[in-house]
Amino acid sequence: MHVPFTSDEALVEEAREGARLAFETLIQPLISPAYRLALVMVRDPSQAEDCVQEAALRAWRARAQLRGGAEGLRPWFLAIVANECRNWLRGRWIRVLRRDLPPLATESGPTEDRLVQSEDLRRALRALRPEERAALLLRYGLGLEVEAVAAALGVRQGAARSRIHRALRRLRPHLVVKEVDDGR
């Protein structure tokens, strides 16, 4: 547990100047969301961990590029993680087929219905492209604003919004969307 006795802004400045402990103090709370982003993109826990590991190393090397103070750190680091995942996905020479969960029982009451719906939704999520899953996770799983989603994905806000809409449309049979998300 890190005990912050100094402001995030001061830590960011120290981290940019190369203070390792300041950097770690800032990065530590981002490890969990970074891992989730990596996992939703690469869908392999070990590989996700490696991507975050590599991203942390790259972030340390690129610390001088950190802009936007403490608030900018999160999308900046997530962008590095997403890049690392993209690189891995591009570099894969074989695609691993993953075993889905066994089908649920056909007899169903209210609880079972919810489970089946939930599992259907998860299957639909798995069928999305990694970038689409990443956009949804950042927006709805981690609660980032569209602006931060765009920064993390390295695209313009409009593109991020389109990606989110497209992903939501593709989930429609399993997710009722009553209104179009406007990024708010």
């Binding site: 203070a19 402990l21 770690e24 490890i31 975050v52 942390a56 190393l57 998860r122 709805y140 799983g141």
Partner: protein, 342 residues
């Protein structure tokens, strides 16, 4: 988007990408100095065990530099454990400063803080262990002479080895600091533990991979204090999940641990969601010393089923004897449980 659907999407996303095990942060940060490709995962796991001990307390600037002679005598180099001079039993003086007790939330057990006079030198700095508090819930070390500036990390071990538990720390008196472990020491047959507090200080503002500028090892024989199990009801269903509770009171604190069946860490806790709250006999919230939620199995055993058992731990400062009100809070339900303390 409809609220329910948003919740369903969020739940599905977080189930697809569950939170990592608690040691991931330590693994990532411990390995950051080496490229992943040159750092085998097995070594990373081993490093994580060590790194998990690392708890950084950024001690406030402004601590006065210690004692005369600093930097004049031959001292161990950076990262080299210093020679410690433990004393086997507590000594009556010097008294522990009141402000140290207040910072470490030990004012209600001042008479139970065991005074020590154990010194260690490193990096031209001398620090002194001046007191230890030990009970069945927490162990707190009070240290004098900490130089200001860089962040300080610490780990605690005893005769059974490293103690893996959550920790906290911070500045206390003028150049003092407290280092708190949310776990008890292991008592030997004589009721004592051979405690070791390992402190490392790092330079502030250094660039590149760094080594500690000072590394102090402070050892002491500590009387291990106890606690008393509190009576709590059997498993309760709250919010659709089953909560198994255990509770302990000590002279200093009240700890409640809940094993929650059916809920993931994210479902149980969140930024504005405190799963357990405790109100004292007069109705005021008891001050929180520590709280957290975690999975109950190592990462290698995490799957859809095991991720749905969560351990919630909370430690509060103990107040007067009486009937306390423990409340289990979930997004869809709440239950109050009376607990008799004292």
């Amino acid at each position: 988007m409809m609220g329910d659907e948003l919740q369903r999407l969020r739940a599905a996303l977080l189930e697809e990408a569950p939170a990592p095990d608690a040691a991931l942060e330590a693994r990532i940060l411990a390995n950051r100095g080496e490229p992943a490709a040159r750092w085998p995962r097995t070594a990373a796991v081993a490093a994580a065990v060590l790194a998990a001990t690392l708890v950084v307390g950024l001690l406030a600037a402004g601590h006065r530099l210690p004692v005369s002679g600093a930097g004049k005598e031959a001292v161990p180099g950076p990262g080299v454990p210093a020679q410690a001079r433990p004393i086997a039993t507590p000594v009556p003086t010097p008294p522990v400063p009141q402000e140290d007790l207040a910072a470490a939330h030990l004012e209600n057990v001042a008479q139970l803080v065991q005074p020590f006079h154990v010194m260690a030198d490193s990096g031209g700095q001398t620090v002194e262990l001046i007191g230890v508090y030990s009970d069945a819930v927490r162990t707190v070390f009070l240290v004098h002479g900490l130089p200001g500036g860089g962040p300080t990390s610490f780990s605690v071990s005893d005769q059974q080895g490293f103690i893996n538990a959550s920790t906290s720390g911070g500045p206390a008196g003028a150049s003092d600091g407290f280092f708190s472990l949310d776990a008890p020491l292991h008592a030997g047959p004589d009721g004592n533990a051979q405690a070791t507090l390992d402190l490392q200080q790092y330079p502030r503002g250094a660039s590149g991979p760094i080594s500690p500028t000072a590394h102090w090892t402070l050892q002491a024989t500590v009387r291990v204090g106890g606690g008393r199990a509190l009576t709590v009801p059997g498993p309760a269903t709250v919010g659709g999940w089953t909560w198994e509770l255990t509770a302990i009171e000590t002279p200093n604190a009240i700890e409640v641990v809940a094993i929650v069946h059916g809920a993931t860490v994210d479902q149980v806790s969140g930024p504005r969601q405190r799963p357990l709250t405790l109100a004292g006999p007069e109705g005021a919230d008891a001050p929180v010393l520590s709280e957290g939620a975690s999975v109950t199995v190592p990462k290698q055993q995490l799957n859809v089923t095991t991720a749905k058992t969560t351990r919630v731990q909370a430690i509060w400062l103990r107040g007067a004897d009486g009937t306390y009100r423990l409340t289990i809070n979930t997004p869809t339900g709440q239950q109050m449980i009376p607990i008799t303390v004292g």
